[in-house]
Point group: C2
Chain length 175, copies 2
Amino acid sequence: MRRTSFADYRCSLSRSLELMGDWWTMLILRDLYLGINRFDDLVEDIGISRNLLTTRLGDLVAHGLAERRAYQEHPPRFEYVLTEPGAELVPIVLALTAWGDKWAPPPEGQPLVFRHDRCGQIFTPRVSCDACGEPIVADEVTTLPGPGGGPGPGAYVLARRLAEKVASGELSRPG
Amino acid sequence: MRRTSFADYRCSLSRSLELMGDWWTMLILRDLYLGINRFDDLVEDIGISRNLLTTRLGDLVAHGLAERRAYQEHPPRFEYVLTEPGAELVPIVLALTAWGDKWAPPPEGQPLVFRHDRCGQIFTPRVSCDACGEPIVADEVTTLPGPGGGPGPGAYVLARRLAEKVASGELSRPG
């Protein structure tokens, strides 16, 4: 069953999700990042069917998140590695993993910990503001219409409400 | 079609994904955060069927990510609001939105921009290290076995490789 496509949604979150395909894709990205790059290893590690993995890896390559690379010539053998956009999803995957460690930990305890090689510390990934560096908390963020803001699939009500707030002076478009 | 359950996966990422259900859930979380809290508004904004929305909202409530709250008594009317774990997913949703703005922007341009109320700046959410504050880049992170590390669904190959690295002295378990 193919789910609804978000490709024409006027929402960058929807468009990210479209490229990522489904939850399996997130686990495949995790494994490619962790150095599990070969088909048979991915099947074993994630417990995904070979058919589904073939499709998902094909989508990752088609969407530019991973590349297929030969690691042996005779006989030809391939592995999958993350591209730059794929690698830029990794910190987000780590942040979601940390959320799971906190709110849905496996009964055995935290499966993995992360060390930041720059500072040498075991760390918890957190989402922060690139202007002031402070952690982002949901109720300290105001959402404003961007240059491409407007009604469309995935943002009908939202665009109308934001436009009303701008019209009433409650919000101002960023200059 | 119900997809594979990740509930017994020994991986906090899988367990997060299990609680989030599917991509629709991520868009519902987005809307609840943005103040679109009522059933009919969610249907219109996201373009989701009423049946699917009923199921997804029920899952969000069952998993503790959202709460159903009466906003009117006669006749009774309800809306859905994020709980604390649900609200803690919001920064991650914002980070994924920013990734989409960069790598898969809608043709019209960035639909939304975010202002950090603490510092007053328009910002890009980024994942950073809670020890040193620097942005997290995929190749500057080392993954180590945690207290609950070990082989299991979602981590068969990974757990074996990490154990080998610990045994060889290439990695040490954090103290």
